[in-house]
């Protein structure tokens, strides 16, 4: 079985995904990724010429089906507090997170 995703590439993906994994998780997930890629690689065998357009959706959104764009009308939302109440840490209505370190050099 072809192993497309090496441990190094896998580590890179984990970094991109903003995850951190235990060794056991990594081993399982990398194995599954490679199995799935074997399935996905079946796509490569399909003859596709450039005339076949990619479909963003299955159905075609003709002008008859498509909803009109939104009119520029203000509808105030009354429950902003309920949104803010979901935040793990809030200070004076600001959502609080740890700092983002960056080097400030001359």
């Amino acid at each position: 079985m072809k192993e497309q995703i090496s441990p190094e590439l896998f580590a890179h993906l984990v970094e991109l995904a903003a995850l951190e994994l235990t060794d056991a998780e990594s081993e399982y997930l990398r194995g599954e990724l490679n199995s799935q890629l074997n399935a996905i690689n079946e796509l490569e065998a399909i003859p596709l010429d450039a005339s076949i357009p990619p479909s963003l959706h299955g159905i075609t959104f003709t002008s008859q089906v498509s909803a009109p764009l939104r009119s520029d009308v203000w509808q105030p939302y009354e429950r902003s507090d309920a949104i803010l109440n979901q935040a793990p840490q809030v200070s004076e209505r600001y959502i609080v997170v740890p700092d983002i370190p960056h080097t400030t050099l001359e």
Partner: protein, 478 residues
């Protein structure tokens, strides 16, 4: 030292002045709102929400694209630009990537000596703004109020050649945005934001050196200053034999210094793909036509026309076209007046502009209408009132909204040109001032002005001063 030229491209983000945000019905403007009050499930990225495109945002972007001479595309797509940042609640920004709203375009920037710099537009698309974060003692505070404000991202090709040109470009862009009515374009309020890409090369060279990107410059003066400092820094580095690295720099307004933010090792992979929650954006010819009928004559075109059509000096034309309603006002006055356009220009530049500045108004907000101003100038031309009366009428019309003629009639401001009335006053003045008469007759001709003044005073300014002088000369010669 080598003679360097700067190569500058500007990346601007323009907040469109729609009433609501681009994908939800929250107000677009959160100025002075407390943090996280102008939000809803959509713009705060709650699970399960979907964007719905604001028609007005598209129309304003279309106007801007047309004004930049860009080609509006009949089919464009919104894409997801995926990255993690706490001011981006969905973890992706809805933007446009491979099929933007418009392609091409340029702005011809007037330079001194009637030259122009063609600044090409490399990118013009619609997207949503992110929220704001600020530092507070080792923590970041996040406010989503700004999330979802409609933005046009417009990036120039590296066509600007000096810090001054960069500043000029922004000045012209700001003028255009206000002219079109698509953005308030206030840099201090972040309506118009600018990052500058700066590199230098020996003058005449065709290649590009590595560039640095200056972020967070929020006034036109700051752009001029920051870019100038960066050009000088790069020249010093090159002279010292160093290479320029692709840094991201931050402009610190307070210290007037550039600071390095982080080195750009690799381009981030944003994994763009078409936003499945939005439909492809179709812009029909019909829609485009209906929007572009609202496209006015552009400021630089009008400026040129004022020079050729009205014979105005460039200086006048520039000032009169700085702002659209002022230039409209000017043209309407010229038309209503029918006389010398330069005379109208003088009135606007000297008196009307002062009035606008004092009142903090734009020309279209004045009660003193172009027809009123034309009438005042005409009344002076016809000798009905004198110049000083004309100037005082400006404020009176503005205050009352009455026509100048009505005010002149009611307040009896017309010049008295009745020979007999002036003659009798002149005789009075001569009789009351024997000493001055003596002196005048002995050759002190400069006293004539004093005599005229006395007559004018007695007649509370309504006398025709030329007529008064003629009568005085006649009487004193006897």
């Amino acid at each position: 030292m080598t003679d360097y030229e700067a190569v500058i491209g500007l990346e601007t983000h323009i907040q469109l002045n729609t009433l609501t945000k681009i994908f939800c019905a929250c107000k677009a403007d959160s100025w002075n709102a407390a943090p996280n009050t102008n939000i809803c499930p959509v713009c705060s990225g709650l699970p399960g929400v979907l964007p719905v495109l604001n028609e007005k945002a598209v129309e304003k972007a279309m106007l801007l694209a047309a004004a930049m001479h860009a080609q509006i595309q009949s089919l464009s797509f919104f894409d997801r630009k995926n990255y993690f940042y706490p001011d981006l609640p969905k973890g992706y920004q809805i933007s446009m990537y491979e099929a933007p709203l418009a392609t091409g375009g340029y702005l011809d920037l007037p330079l001194p000596q009637n030259e122009a710099r063609r600044v090409r537009i490399a990118k013009l698309h619609l997207e949503e703004d992110a929220g704001k974060t600020k530092n507070a003692g080792g923590k970041r505070l996040i406010d989503f109020n700004r999330c979802g404000v409609p933005l046009v991202e417009m990036v120039t090709s590296p066509d600007l050649r000096s810090a001054e040109e960069a500043a000029q470009y922004l000045t012209r862009l700001r003028q255009l945005l206000r002219w079109l009515g698509v953005s308030e374009a206030d840099m201090e309020k972040g309506h118009l934001r600018c990052d500058a890409n700066v590199s230098i090369r020996p003058r005449g060279a065709a290649y590009l050196n590595p560039k640095t990107e200056i972020k967070n410059v929020n006034s036109i003066d700051a752009v001029r200053e920051a870019v100038q400092k960066e050009i000088e820094r790069q020249a010093r580095e090159m002279e010292a034999g160093h290479t320029i690295e692709s840094w991201t720099l931050e402009w610190d307004e307070d210290s007037g210094k550039l600071k390095k933010m982080r080195s750009k090792e690799t381009e981030a992979d944003y994994r763009y793909f078409h936003e499945p929650d939005l439909l492809p954006l179709h812009i029909s010819e019909e829609w485009k036509k209906s929007i572009l009928t609202a496209l006015p004559e552009l400021p630089l075109e009008r400026r040129q026309r004022f020079v050729t059509q009205y014979g105005l000096p460039e200086y006048d034309a520039d000032i009169l076209t700085a702002e659209r309603s002022l230039s409209d006002y000017y043209e309407q006055t010229v038309k209503a007046y029918g006389g010398d356009p330069k005379k109208v220009s003088n009135w606007l530049m000297n008196d009307v502009l002062r009035m606008l500045n004092e009142k903090g108004m734009t020309a279209d907000q004045l009660r003193l209408l172009p027809a009123h101003l034309a009438e005042i100038i005409r009344l002076i031309d016809e000798g009905v009132i004198n110049n000083a009366t004309g100037k005082s009428l400006l404020e009176k019309v503005q205050a009352s909204g009455e026509t100048p003629a009505a005010i002149v009639a009611r307040e009896g401001l017309a010049k008295v040109s009745d020979d007999a009335a002036i003659r009798s006053i002149c005789q009075e003045v001569i009789a009351e001032n024997p000493a001055e008469v003596e002196n005048y007759r002995n050759g002190k001709a400069t006293l004539m002005g004093w005599f005229v003044g006395q007559v004018m005073r007695k007649m509370r300014g309504k006398a025709d001063p030329n007529l008064a002088r003629a009568i005085l000369e006649e009487l004193l010669a006897q």
